[in-house]
């Protein structure tokens, strides 16, 4: 099983798009997913979301009377099982779904039972829905004793002259990391992955997670920083999971860890790293800024109120904003970019501050027009744990505004709190469509360099989410300038 590459399916079946073959899909799924370690309620939940996705294909992907086929493939990725439902039927026609009732029930169940959902356009390859279910790995609670839980807090600070070792994290360190995070944060740490040692272990083994840990002379893990990649040869990665044991604060440990991981990925040729720093304080922003990071945007209400972890039964508080930071590591390709005219000044400032090699061009000179023969293509990723969604524009068509409107409404019905849309800045059509998306309620959030074959202009939509602008803390003058712009753009 371990020999199957993670982007290759473990198993695939192809079926006629008829409802009578649904039980065959369920049997196939139970057989394979069961062997991969999914059982009981988790397996039933994955069966349900798979059935909902298959029914969408059977009911909507083909013309009446057409003999259509679809595929169901199962993939094993680090820490999770992915079921992909693919068809080469009609291009996605959102008008068919244009009633709240029709798609409402299925999507509510999908949101509740899948860990993540992706709606992907494969161009001529058709459409693909990916349903992700995290494997039910034991969390840190299973690895630590009652005694260790009770000594979680109020230990005295350690003298600064103590010898500390920093080294790459190995898969077998993942339990010690979980212990460290638990000791420092209880169950309140923002990234839930760290509480599941087996999930971290698989991410390290797959190369998608590059981590460094700090150890005290007793070999105890007291700090951690990582870079997470979307795919193995991704040119940028997301920096995060910064943890320092409170006893060792004031040792400059976070900066040393960041420096080490940044040097490591720089040598590997990555263009840069990006991250979302919290804004309830400015410590992590300052640590990143001191390592060469610069602000590129503000994501209002990005971080869930309960800091994601489900075991926390806190009263609901408000979501928190995050500051987008980019650290340029190696020379990226020179690119022409086409910012919308009304955001041109701030986007040029972001490029200038980040010293990116960009030629800010005027889209009118390219004379690129919308190809009326192609439909718009927008991928959708729903992160159910954090209750946010990302739309990625892959291709502009004349129906873009209507398609985004449909997706937005669907996500709002699912009560997703924050919806982001990433527009390709290398496409001269971006200025043409930006304002019309803003008329739907989106507003400027920032730029993410090199996110997807070039830079992305990110817009944000808050679905009846309250946030307090006065509580957002940013460390630099440019950060404040950007925050003011983002708040003003929201209106």
């Amino acid at each position: 099983m371990d020999t199957v590459p993670e982007d290759q399916p473990i198993a695939r079946i192809s079926l006629t798009a008829k409802v009578e073959f649904l039980p065959a899909v369920s049997s196939f799924l139970r057989e394979i997913a069961g062997k991969l370690g999914l059982t009981g309620n988790d397996l039933a939940q994955l069966e349900l979301v798979t059935e909902e996705a298959c029914m969408n294909v059977i009911e909507h992907a083909f013309d009446p009377g057409e003999q259509g086929y679809f595929d169901v493939a199962i993939l094993r990725k680090p820490g999770k099982i992915v079921v992909a439902v693919e068809d080469r039927g009609l291009p996605f026609d959102f008008r068919k779904f244009d009633t709240a009732q029709e798609s409402g029930l299925g999507v509510i169940l999908m949101k509740a039972f899948a860990s993540e959902v992706y709606f992907l356009n494969l161009g001529r390859g058709g459409k693909r829905v990916e349903l992700v279910k995290n494997l039910p790995y034991k969390d840190v609670d299973a690895y630590i004793s009652e005694e260790e839980k009770n000594r979680a807090v109020s230990l005295p600070p350690v003298p600064e002259d103590i010898s500390i070792t920093i080294r790459p994290m190995r898969p077998k360190d993942s339990i010690d990391l979980a212990r460290c995070v638990y000791r420092c944060y209880g169950y309140t740490y923002a990234n839930p992955d760290v509480y599941f040692p087996d999930r971290v272990k698989e991410l390290l083994e797959s190369g998608l997670l590059i981590s460094f840990i700090a150890l005290n002379p007793d070999g105890e893990v007291i700090g951690h920083v990582s870079v997470r990649k979307e795919y193995a040869d991704a040119p940028i990665g997301e920096r995060g999971q910064a943890v320092v044991d409170p006893r060792y604060r004031g040792h400059g440990l976070l900066n040393k860890l960041i420096k080490t991981v940044v040097e490591h990925v720089t040598k590997r040729g990555m263009y840069g790293t990006y991250g979302e720093a919290v804004t309830v304080h400015t410590y992590s922003q300052k640590a990143a800024l001191s390592m060469g990071a610069h602000e590129t945007g503000v994501l209002l209400a990005f971080t869930p109120a309960t800091m994601l972890f489900k075991k926390i039964q806190e009263e609901r508080e408000q979501r928190q904003a995050a500051l987008l930071l980019y650290t340029r590591l190696n020379q990226e390709p020179q690119r022409d970019v086409y910012p919308p005219y009304h955001h041109r000044t701030i986007i040029s400032r972001i490029y200038e501050i980040n010293q990116l090699r960009r030629n800010v061009a005027d889209a009118t000179h390219t004379k690129k027009a919308v190809d009326v023969s192609v439909p718009s293509m927008v991928d959708v990723q729903v992160q159910t744990d954090a209750n946010r969604a990302f739309l990625l524009i892959k291709q502009y068509g004349t129906d873009l505004e209507a398609l985004v409107k449909f997706r937005l409404r669907e996500l709002c019905l699912r009560k997703i709190d924050c919806i982001y849309i990433d527009m390709p800045l290398s496409d001269p059509l971006t200025p043409k469509f930006c304002a019309s998306l803003e008329m739907l309620g989106f507003s400027f959030a920032g730029v993410i360099p090199e996110l997807s074959d070039g830079d992305a202009l990110r817009l944000q939509y808050l679905n009846n989410v309250y946030f307090n602008p006065d509580s957002i803390q940013v460390a630099t003058d440019f950060g404040k300038e950007l925050l003011e712009y983002v708040l003003k753009a929201r209106g």
Binding site: L22, P23, N41, A44, L48, E51, M55, I58, L105, G106
Partner: protein, 113 residues
């Protein structure tokens, strides 16, 4: 999907076993429709042996509830397994139906109305 129905006093009890997915939903819908159309609109559905339900199955129950109520009857549900209850809760259907831990309690529910 196996279905067995029996009459207890003036209440019809339909016991479902197996999986209520988009494929078997049609069969269950037909059964419920035939019961309601023949005037047997006081229904208890025993779900003790129902292992799985999807949104298609939920829609069948909802349609039956509407039809039964229109005919001055009701549909009460009994003996849900945890997964079935979870699906009902998430879909907001637990508020629409009277749900009982036992079949007897569900049947008795009719004598109190």
């Amino acid at each position: 999907m196996d279905m067995v129905d029996k009459k207890l006093d003036s209440v019809n009890v339909l016991s479902l076993s197996g999986r209520l997915d988009a494929y078997s939903a049609t069969e269950v819908e037909k059964k419920l429709d035939s019961l309601i159309e023949s005037g047997q609109n006081r229904l208890v559905i025993n779900l003790e042996n129902l292992e799985y339900i999807s949104s298609s199955g939920l829609r069948v129950f909802l349609a039956a509830l509407k039809k039964a109520k229109k005919a001055q009857g009701d549909v009460k549900l009994a003996c849900m397994k945890p997964f079935i209850k979870e699906v009902f809760d998430i879909a907001g259907f637990s508020q629409l139906f009277s749900i009982f831990d036992t079949q007897d309690a569900a049947v008795s529910g009719f004598s109190q109305t």
